[in-house]
């Protein structure tokens, strides 16, 4: 079930110069949401910026009927959103999208986040530990950023008891290089990764690499993809990704409706 109505902003936190965490009291959305879903937010009532902005659900609190989003200010839409104060009501549409497929059994999940790709993976991590009762020490969380100061949510991960492997492009913290390189090392060094459910979200080039690695090593990896989305509902066909589901002719799937979660082996990213 999808809802469109005004929901109250109940918390607003500035995590770094450009990264914000907003919380909404939204019982209808929370009751129907699962990790990997997103919400479509109208940031203002003016004609510019016109379209809604899509945000992954970052933290889902079923007890308090609220959820959080996490975002970086990158343009006028996110800039307006960052200036909202608690008590304001925002027009939200959601929950949208298909959500992560969480495999049954006791295989150890591997989560690979790059930059703001942390958002949907945090909601998944909370879910795996709190709802699926997976022992936090069984979860591998790989997290990449440009520089040491870029990481967010490290405290949350620590609180959950998840051990996190960090990668920075400049080597100022953890592994020096891309998080995908760290991931590849893990695939080669540790036998279990090949049988693990893998979940990943990050910038487009990273998703492309994860897709290629998954095809090459035949990994079951789910990617959370991002795109501009005019409708968010599957009506406009504006946010498509090329897929190759059955090994036949490529076809286009809607990121908003058929995704945003896709099997990394089925998508063809350029």
């Amino acid at each position: 079930m999808v809802f469109q109505k005004k929901f109250e902003l109940i918390s607003s936190q500035k995590l770094s110069e450009k990264i914000f965490r907003l919380g909404f009291f939204a019982p209808e959305i929370v009751k129907n949401a699962c990790p990997g879903n997103f919400v479509h937010i109208r940031v203002g009532d003016k004609s510019s910026p016109l379209l809604r902005r899509a945000f992954s659900i970052f933290d889902l609190d079923l007890k308090k009927d609220c959820f959080d989003i996490l975002f970086k200010v990158v343009g006028p839409g996110t800039e307006i959103l960052s200036r909202k104060s608690t008590g304001e009501n925002l027009d939200l549409l959601g929950p949208l999208g298909n959500g992560f497929e969480i495999p049954k059994g006791d295989r150890s999940p591997v989560l690979v986040a790059g930059g703001m790709g942390i958002a949907p993976l945090m909601s998944l991590a909370f879910y795996l530990v709190k709802n699926q009762k997976i022992k936090p020490e069984k979860i591998s969380f790989l997290y990449g950023e440009r520089i040491k100061g870029g990481f967010v949510c490290l405290e949350d991960l620590k609180e959950l008891g998840i051990k996190t492997l960090l990668a920075t492009e400049d080597g100022s913290e953890g592994f020096e290089g891309m998080v995908t390189e760290l991931f590849l090392r893990k695939v080669k060094e540790t036998s279990f990764v090949k049988d693990s459910p893998i979940f990943s979200c990050g910038p487009h080039p990273m998703m492309k690499t994860m897709s290629e690695l998954s095809k090459k090593h035949n990994l079951f990896c789910q990617l959370s993809l991002e795109s501009h989305m005019p409708c968010g509902l599957g009506a406009c066909w504006g946010c498509v990704v090329k897929t190759n589901r059955d090994g036949g002719e490529p076809d286009y799937k809607r990121i908003c409706k058929d995704g945003p979660i896709f099997d990394a082996r089925e998508v063809e990213l350029d």
Binding site: Q4, L50, R52, L93, H228, C231, G234, G238, V240
Partner: protein, 303 residues
């Protein structure tokens, strides 16, 4: 009680507010959000003879008070449409208008012939104005002769009422409208999107993969209003106004300019309930101003 109904030829619309092709899918996506029975009509996404994948992404981008799209008529094809989508649309008590497109004049005819055998269709909207396909689309609506040929050949093969959708990307839209009227159309809808482009100067690349696309949204409203006004002066058949309509005030402006019906397009993305808010707004406006029938406002621009 205000009478919001509008008659176009033999077709009665319960109110003048329709949702525009390409912005409302086949109705399913929006049915969870509001009661589709409230709408004056639903214009479906364009249907072609065979399924179409559409254009490579990125297909959309935002521009000041508007957006560009280059979807490329992605659709399930007429056979699957009849089997899978029409039964759903027929559950609702609203007019169902099927938007028909093609790469060749023959393709339009074959789609229409297949639709002749389907149930529950109230009208066809003939898309001779899509700017985002290599063949057909806008080409048929770009000069009076081809617009006339395309419309009259369809007129000959179907009894469905015809709404013909015009492109603003022409020298003189009035000439095209007159040609379409002469060829037996029951009404004319305008405008489709304006050809536009956006560039990311930092990477020296266009924001759309197809480089150019169709501009829609509030940015095009003044252009649409002017064209609706011009066309409605010169044709006798009803005009359907489209272009940047986001609220009741916009809808009233189009009615005053001469539109008998309006279509809500891009605004369905911004606020999926735009059309129902406009229907409520028109009702309130008419009641407050003691207007018995909404048709009384049509073309009542004073100048």
């Amino acid at each position: 009680m205000t009478d919001l109904s509008v008659r176009v030829g033999k077709t009665t619309f319960k109110n003048p507010v329709l949702v525009a092709s390409g912005t409302f899918g086949y109705g399913e996506e929006y049915s969870e959000l509001f009661d589709l029975n409230q709408l004056g009509g639903i214009v479906t996404k364009s249907i072609t003879l065979n399924p179409r994948e559409g254009n490579p992404p990125p297909r959309t981008c935002e521009t000041p008070s508007g957006m560009l799209n280059s979807i490329g008529l992605a659709n399930v094809g007429v056979d699957r449409f009849i089997q899978e989508k029409i039964p759903f649309l027929n559950k609702f008590n609203t007019n169902i208008i099927i938007n028909v497109a093609g790469s060749t004049p023959e393709e339009y005819l074959r789609v229409v012939e297949k639709l002749n055998h389907a149930q529950g269709i109230d009208m066809l909207e003939i898309n001779i104005s899509c700017p985002n396909v290599k063949e057909g689309g806008m080409a048929f609506g770009s000069d009076p002769e081809s617009a006339h040929r395309c419309t009259s050949s369809i007129r000959k093969v179907t009894n469905y009422p015809l709404m013909v959708k015009l492109t603003p990307n022409v020298k003189d839209i009035v000439e095209i409208a007159q040609a379409v009227e002469d060829s037996g159309a029951d009404c004319i809808s305008l405008i489709n999107t304006l050809v536009g482009m956006a560039i990311d100067f930092r990477i020296k690349k266009p924001l759309l993969k197809t480089v150019t696309g169709g501009l829609s949204g509030p940015a095009i409203k003044p252009v649409a209003l002017a064209m609706v006004w011009k066309v409605s002066q010169k044709v006798k058949i009803p005009v359907v106004g489209i272009g940047g309509i986001t609220n009741t005030q916009d809808a009233l402006e189009f009615l005053l300019a001469g539109a008998s019906l309006i279509q809500v397009g891009t605004s369905n993305f911004v606020d999926p309930q735009t059309s129902v808010r406009i229907i409520e707004g028109l009702k309130d406006y008419c009641e407050k101003n003691e207007i018995k029938r909404v048709m009384e406002i049509v073309g009542k621009l004073e100048n």
